[in-house]
Symmetry: C2
């Protein structure tokens, strides 16, 4: 093998992938091109890095190191490093096998997932894997192998002598703060529910963003264990722990392509990583959701239940009405406030309470608790859920006495009023999400929307339909412009039958009059 | 739209893609993530760049610019730049369409190719396109659209009042220096042949590497035109001109995945870009080539001819024997020397001459020249090809009086001898290429292999099979080790029928004794 001794230059550049920059001449001497791999310090640390090539930025005899490579090698500026060309990892041949439409075996998937986690595969190679899975599909066995290996290549939350319960939502509905009610409801019934959640990617708020308005969510694994030992539950951000870490890498490829071939393994690997035995999966269904029809739901539910069987996890699925936001609040602080108020009052927001009670009761049914729905509702109205909720907040480092008024929401607001009278026939989930994001959510925690009307409500001309909250004026204006452009809420006296025609009318209908 | 004014920091980092680095907080403020796009200077230059995110390397309020972005914006360190989030390009939706298995229309393919050339699509997005084409396949219409748009998004070689002839080889055979004979042979017959060639990617020498031993090959478009006006031909490196530039971007994705869904458009777009009307495509066939069987060849040939009809190009295909190197020399200088010697003598290396004469005669047949093979051979033996060859060398800036002895080959050599007697039954093309590359080819122009024996030749124990040339001792040793490990040349008294068995013998047969 040819090798070179090159002088380390520390670039202080961050990247998740281990990247080094070689001078063009040195790269040619080694016989490597951009995106090929080199092995650094082969007799010692054996670090594999991906090659970038520069003509001027790095001189002949130098090697530029990104932060992650510097950390792995633990070298200082100017240190000589032994650099070898490295073969493509074995896992690449398994990706090429899937590309050719062949099923992969457990060991082959394990190698791929390991190399993904170790950042030994390039974006090109990972994208080829993801698009192959998308086009060719996964067998149930492949989904099981992926779930298992995605879990075992990360940390595992080990809780002794506990049967673990969990809930998951496939998402897509703005304002869905159901988890904040379900987790204390399940925990107060004596079941253990270590809930990890994500932050928003394309939505105005993820569960982690909501909970963060009440207490810290970026706890480490040992801290999470202590919270669960104290309270039977937690509500933490999954990104702060290393559970099924390959998933984050896959998402970075799936997101720009709007594909999600790993939906099942992605969910189930996280559940494997917390050693869940019983889970309920919420699948919001209908117009404006990911499941357009009940038969879509039935098919996906059957797949989840089948995969659960292979993995030793008991899965129940719930189709829930998803054609409008849950409750009235959209945006991290507005939603946290609505959830806290509802938990404190034990009544009020009927769709939110109904959904939480139903999902909790499905978990209770695994335990054969009697009259599970009545029981769940009683826990809420009795104040026990509130007590448990505040215990969890305290255990995670928040203020257990927090009041709804302590949650600060955006001070820049505008009300959107109706210029028509009639009934609300539909609410556009995507438009609501877009406006709330334009107003600053989820980054500005106080930004969002408070609906005044929901489907079936009567509206008079001039009545407020919703109020936009923002922390900054320019974001309020931006949200307002978008609210003006989109069809957000459909109001009519009778159902209008024409949905679209070709050629279409170019003129945009304005449903709203605006008022500061 | 939200925007920020950020202070330019010039990173002096090279990348073909337009990359900027934002501080994490500014990225969140803009609502963009890593690999999203921003528009810079929207009221002026309207440069689109791909976002990287840093926490420390770039401070809040700064924007780090890679060289290509700096060049496009033409800004200095510290200049304030208006930065806006930008939508994903429309072409991404067409990639997603192909990902779903739907055929693309001409305009859709045009948008994709344009954005590839402008580096507006990320590696993830381009990989999704390439893998979709690989898995779903291309229709003949899609192949035609790709060929056309890949050509028109680059430079076009416009030669007035000329009918353009061209040749292409799908490659794969070490030592194939046929082009060096065909080009002057065709030009001396009065046909115009503007030959652009590639450098080696995985082989020991590309045609551009071979010709570069005789004269410069990195000519610009205007220089190429002058060479052709003078000589009716050229032999230049395609990488120095901007003909069908999308191809280079696609190759960077195809290479690590070992897939080549764009083979047809890749070849035909280059031919469109030189406005070729008649082309011959050489398809080396047999063991150790890309076309394992005659029926593989027939299928690909039919596709090339059909695509040519759609594009207004007359295509002829030739299946040529490819189970061993062409001639005896492998490596840039060794091959250039062998080609020059053969052109000067007009005889000698029979397979090389036969192949060149056949390919030239196929082009002559388009022109209805009589007895085209006899005519081609006569041009060679008469010395006219040599005269034309030297004219082309001179026009490209080389020494027209160059002699074979002027070409310097590696001074470190070793002969590999046979320890068996019998006949050569086979030569392993891949092993020959690997040894020549280990010896330093194509980077070290004098490195390579000179065969002493070819298929059918008789060999006595102790006779030299081939000689390895290198410019550096450690590369010679490296080549030697590989020669020792691989089955390079098969020698036997009768054909041995057993190819392999399972479980296999672990012991490796040594065919060679080594001697310095």
């Amino acid at each position: 093998v040819v090798w070179l001794f090159l002088k380390a230059r520390l670039l202080e550049l961050e990247a998740k992938k281990p990247i080094v920059i070689l001078n063009k001449e040195d790269a040619e001497e080694l016989g490597v091109k951009a995106l090929d791999r080199v092995e650094l310090d082969p007799d010692g640390k054996e670090v594999i890095a991906i090659v970038n090539v520069a003509e001027k930025f790095i001189s002949k005899g130098e090697i530029g190191l990104y932060d992650s490579v510097q950390d792995q090698l633990n070298v200082k500026e100017g240190k000589k490093i032994d650099v070898n060309p490295a073969e493509a990892p074995e896992s690449l041949s398994f990706i090429v096998k899937k590309l050719a439409g062949k099923d992969l075996r457990s060991l082959e998937i394990r190698k791929i997932v390991e190399d993904v986690v170790k950042h030994r595969l390039s974006e090109i190679e990972i994208t080829a894997f993801i698009t192959s899975l998308h086009i060719h599909g996964l067998t149930m066995n492949e989904a099981a192998y992926l779930s298992t290996h995605m879990a075992t290549t990360g940390d595992i939350l080990r809780l002794k002598n506990k049967e673990i319960y969990d809930k998951h939502s496939i998402g897509g509905i703005p304002g869905d703060k159901t988890t904040l009610l379900v987790v204390p409801m399940v925990a107060v019934a004596g079941l253990t529910i270590p809930k990890t959640s994500s932050r928003a990617i394309t939505s105005p708020a993820g569960t982690a963003d909501r909970v963060e308005c009440l207490c810290p969510v970026d706890l480490e694994l040992e801290e999470i264990k202590k919270v669960i030992e104290k309270t039977n539950a937690c509500m933490v951000w999954g990104g702060a722990v290393d559970l099924a870490p390959a998933d984050d890498v896959f998402i970075q490829v799936e997101y720009p392509l709007s594909i999600d071939p790993l939906l099942l393994p992605s969910v189930m690997s996280k559940k494997k990583a917390v050693q869940a035995k019983y889970i309920v999966i919420d699948m919001p269904t209908g117009k404006g959701t990911k499941m357009k029809t009940i038969s879509d739901y039935q098919e996906l539910a059957a797949q989840f239940i089948g995969l659960g069987k292979k993995l030793g996890i008991n899965v129940a699925c719930a189709s829930t009405f998803g054609e409008q936001p849950i409750g009235y609040a959209i945006g991290p602080a507005l939603e946290a406030r609505e959830a806290l108020e509802t938990i404190m009052r034990g009544k009020g927001i009927s769709d939110l309470i109904d959904k939480a009670v139903n999902l909790a009761s499905i978990l209770f049914d695994f335990k054969h608790l009697k009259n599970s729905k009545t029981y769940a509702l009683k826990l809420l109205t009795s104040g026990k859920v509130e007590k448990k909720f505040r215990e969890i907040i305290e255990a995670q480092g928040g203020n257990p006495s927090i009041k709804p008024g302590d949650l600060s929401v955006g001070s820049k607001t505008i009300e959107i009023k109706s210029n028509a009278s009639g009934k609300v026939f539909w609410i556009n989930n995507a438009a609501i999400a877009q406006i709330a994001r334009a107003a600053g959510a989820p980054k500005d925690k106080g930004a969002g929307i408070l609906l005044s009307k929901k489907i079936g409500d009567s509206v008079k001309g001039g009545e407020t339909l919703f109020k936009i909250y923002a922390e900054k004026n320019y974001k309020l204006n931006r949200a307002l412009r978008i609210a003006n452009e989109l069809d957000v809420i459909g109001i009519g006296k009778k159902l209008e039958m024409l949905l679209a025609k070709i050629p279409e009318e170019k003129e945009h209908k304005k449903y709203f009059i605006l008022e500061r």
